[in-house]
């Protein structure tokens, strides 16, 4: 009998440590490695368009706006779909690319992590979960997009923008104050 693999395995990633390298196909079929982005700040965003917490940030325009704003500043933004085939949120790559475009996704790349390797390496539990890797390749943020664990789009403006605060600090070369906090959302569908 094969041992049951669950989402609760020890993650390789840790704050202040080198971010684990990974590679995957994007929804558009490109082969993407984390090591392609040496000397760049990289954002990882776990996404599942079947999740109401994700849709809160797309329907409100918050996530596309952040993607546009920060990629314009030279940040590499990787949206990651870790849903397994047959689970909620999984679509064939071309359909996934189409849905992401329809939702307004403006990430640098949307990665198909269908076997869940990237998600497990980073200990991704929920969508949307956010990670930031600094220019030196160190994991400097792992947590929530903001402070209000709700599905209501109107809460986006009143929440404390935990992820944005962290990303601004990283871009300004300052230490991140709240580097690890509990992300909210729907469980990643490994």
């Amino acid at each position: 009998m094969k041992p049951l693999i669950t989402a609760v395995v020890a993650a390789l990633a840790a704050i202040g440590q080198p971010a684990p390298d990974f590679n995957a196909r994007s929804a558009k079929g490109e082969f993407i490695s984390l090591s392609d982005f040496k000397d760049k700040v990289v954002v990882l965003e776990w996404v599942n368009f079947g999740c109401p917490f994700v849709n809160k940030h797309y329907a409100s325009g918050n996530m596309p706006k952040l993607q546009q704003t920060y990629t314009a500043k030279g940040v590499v933004w990787l949206s990651i779909n870790s849903s397994a085939k047959g689970k909620q949120g999984y679509l064939d790559p071309p359909e996934m690319a189409g849905l992401a475009a329809k939702k307004g996704n403006q990430a640098s790349h949307l990665l198909m992590d269908t076997d869940g390797k990237i998600g497990r390496a980073y200990g991704a539990k929920v969508t949307p979960q956010m990670c930031i890797i600094d220019k030196d390749g160190t994991l400097v943020y792992d947590g929530a997009i903001d402070s209000m664990a709700t599905t209501d789009a109107k809460d986006v403006t009143s929440a404390e923008p935990l992820f944005v605060n962290a990303l601004d600090a990283v871009l300004a070369g300052k230490p991140v104050a709240n580097a690890k906090n509990k992300p909210y959302g729907c469980g990643v569908k490994y």
Partner: protein, 268 residues
């Protein structure tokens, strides 16, 4: 969008007497023990949430994911409402994430208090939002509920008995007779419970839930064992627990002999 509105309208028409409002995978209703209350007095009410079979809603501490029930009151001038009281939850494992919540119908008691100048009739409103999840997905829902109360002597409603039963299911604070202590270790917490001699306590088969989020790892099953006069349990810390741990509230489910209790420890 249109579809949803038509659906809600049909839902409303099909149960004109219940006053339950639904969306997503649940429906909610606000009921009172009495149709009337006197000025400057309290009235027992409850929000009743019914979740579709196979789905669950969430406790105050939802666990690793999920979302607690959220309420925004819109009360006439001078009226107040207590917090929503939550009964003892159940434990869920959803795709490897541990959570706490409820299946089926759950009553969340809330006490409302009328102002001294209450006359005639008052219309109280509550905007409720919730999250329901099953094994594969989550759906949010919301309802705008209204409770009409007349000024006057108590007039028990058909819900009075069920409300009384719902109150008995709530954990009672037992801090005066039972002491919880928390000793912090590297990656774990040592929990010690000692009861006053007049209040014998048997925790052998009682389920324990962490009401304070992200102090104890949500996946940890908390089992107390007897050590001398005390009961102890060592549990893994949540990876998000602040250092030092400032506070912890535990809810201990009832058994055949005793009702559910709530214990709170605060760091000195």
């Amino acid at each position: 969008m249109m579809d949803l509105r038509v659906l809600m309208l049909i839902g409303g028409l099909s149960s004109p007497l219940s006053g339950a409002e639904g969306s997503g995978r649940a429906s909610a209703e606000w009921v009172a023990a009495s149709a009337a209350c006197k000025p400057a007095s309290a009235l027992q009410t409850a929000i009743r949430l019914t979740v579709d079979p196979g789905w669950h809603s969430y406790w105050l501490n939802p666990g690793a994911s999920g979302m607690p029930l959220r309420v925004e009151w819109e009360l006439p001038a001078g009226w107040t409402a207590s917090d929503l009281a939550h009964p003892v939850p159940e434990r869920f494992d959803t795709g490897g994430l541990a959570g706490f919540g409820y299946e089926g119908t759950v009553w969340f008691p809330v006490t409302v208090t009328a102002p001294a100048n209450f006359t005639e009739r008052a219309s109280l409103k509550a905007r409720l939002s919730w999250l329901t999840c099953n094994e594969t997905s989550c759906l949010p829902g919301n309802a705008e509920l209204t409770l009409e109360i007349d000024a006057g002597p108590a007039a028990p409603t058909a819900h009075a008995d069920a409300l009384r039963a719902a109150l008995l299911k709530l954990p009672r604070s037992a801090n005066d007779l039972v002491k919880l202590r928390v000793t912090e270790k590297q990656d774990s917490l040592l929990l010690t419970i000692e009861a006053h001699a007049s209040h014998p306590l048997d925790l052998t088969h009682r389920e324990v839930f962490p009401a304070t989020p992200e102090i104890i790892d949500s996946a940890a099953v908390i089992r107390f064992v007897k050590q001398g006069a005390a009961w102890t349990a060592e549990v893994p810390k949540s990876e998000y627990a602040p250092t030092p741990v400032p506070r912890l509230t535990l809810v201990i489910a009832g058994d055949a002999k005793a009702g559910p209790i709530e214990l709170t420890w605060t760091a000195d």
